[in-house]
Symmetry: C2
Subunit: 330 residues, 2 copies
Amino acid sequence: MKLRLGKVDKEILEELVFKKLGARRRDIVLGPSFGEDAGVVKSDSRLIVSSCDPITGASERIGWLSVHINANDVAVCGGRPVWFSPIILLSRDADRVELERIVSDIHNACVELGVGVVTGHTEVAPNISHSIVCGFMMGPLVSGKPIRSGGGRPGDLIAMSKTAGIEGTAILARDFKERLKDRVSKEVLEKAERYYEKISVVSEALKLARMGVVTAMHDPTEGGVLGGVYELAEASNTSFIIYEDKIPVSVETRQICNALGCDPLKLISSGVLLACVSKKNMKRIEKLGFNVIGELRERKMPSILMRSDKTEEKITGQVLDELWRIYEES
Amino acid sequence: MKLRLGKVDKEILEELVFKKLGARRRDIVLGPSFGEDAGVVKSDSRLIVSSCDPITGASERIGWLSVHINANDVAVCGGRPVWFSPIILLSRDADRVELERIVSDIHNACVELGVGVVTGHTEVAPNISHSIVCGFMMGPLVSGKPIRSGGGRPGDLIAMSKTAGIEGTAILARDFKERLKDRVSKEVLEKAERYYEKISVVSEALKLARMGVVTAMHDPTEGGVLGGVYELAEASNTSFIIYEDKIPVSVETRQICNALGCDPLKLISSGVLLACVSKKNMKRIEKLGFNVIGELRERKMPSILMRSDKTEEKITGQVLDELWRIYEES
């Protein structure tokens, strides 16, 4: 059986991957499980958060993305990202200019965040047709304990920062510029391309981590806001209900998604932070600019996306990112 | 200008990569530089070694290799490898069986070394035709201070463990079985394939690290023993002389290299540990089974590989691995 493009199914991960995790070590405080994008180890008394993620789908700014995506994962777990190590895999078509751009992007993103490069690897790899950056980020825990995707409880409110589909909006504006230019204005496309600048959730995540009011945090990547809520709920062993009309979507995202026929709620959404809080903390999180979009429910209830037209969309499995679908079709 | 396959040239790395390393942080005790395969960070008072390496060239056992290659880099720096995080990038042809094999290989290699998996990422990636595993390994420093490739001094002896071209011998025996089967006996090919089992240098490296007699350690990967000595000498700002007739080459490696017309001294050599010691420590390192193959010299002298027939081969730049050359030609 071939596997589909993108993230591997939860069932396959649980059956094949999560059971085989090497030696059991008590100093691994948070290990791999579905929906958790970071791990935590104990070095003497200090907890260190680490995460790893590749950038494979985007064709531009891959160095810059690899720093921010990994920094996001560390911060969402309650860690301050400080130590980065990149593996740069160049395609055989790559030249010095491409390497230089990737390295500069990594450097600039690291400087923005106060992150230093610890080690790394650069090679021209056989068997790849597009350059890839695999990033690895570490940093000390700043919250009292690790914040997991799986810490949510039924009844908790689900809140999000910013607007749906941030990363995907930037990627689509760049990669489908030709197809979009007759249907979306130049100004909108230019603004959409700059969405890369919104991709970091480090500052909002560390603010929440230090405040100590969240039960769970997660940053939705593939599968968008809907996929991220699904992952958070699965990790927390709950179901969920979210409301389309409570989920903010920007003008740029709306126009680009309409033109390409894709759903912004299922579009890769790095830059958005999902957080769960108990109802009594609703005001505190709204003050920070978060929107409450729904809530976690008992596991026995169905997981539902309530559309604006009041139809209920039942979510029974992982959400395929619209980006993969569009690439497959094009 | 296109870049050549494999490791990127020292000049390019120094010009483009090593100058752009993000924010300067005092807690990065050993950062990236040419020939250093690990970095060291300070977390409170504890030093943590980390390394990252991808497995892109091999078509089998990539999971297993990714653990051992990274464990080697950590151990060679004086760290005990204990925390591993893999990024598994599957090709679009990959199926469950392939994923299962990669994961089992990672698991088994980790268990052998007492390593646990901290976090990770698995996806079916676009743009790759062969699955790739990018590994990240961490562990606490067990030597008094980090052991660098760049710690060697002129006059130090260069010693190596095992025999040249270990990893390459196993890779060639598998990947070129058809071409080799008429010229090399089945027994030799089978024995050569099992060379993967020799690939760990963790035990010998940690022994030397704890003994405290080495000035530098390095594990030669691409470019083989010769490439590894070159990297170590460059990192140490010295030249070197090594003697072909002092470098042990096994029967299996010799036969396979003869059949494919390749030089075992330039063949990818994970499994070999290079170490530098002052002359007074020669006996101690020989007792551990190491062979002295040459010595480091003042930078102003030329770097020389003295062939068995007494011709001198001057080494003036990075060594292209024979493996890449053979893949290019086939």
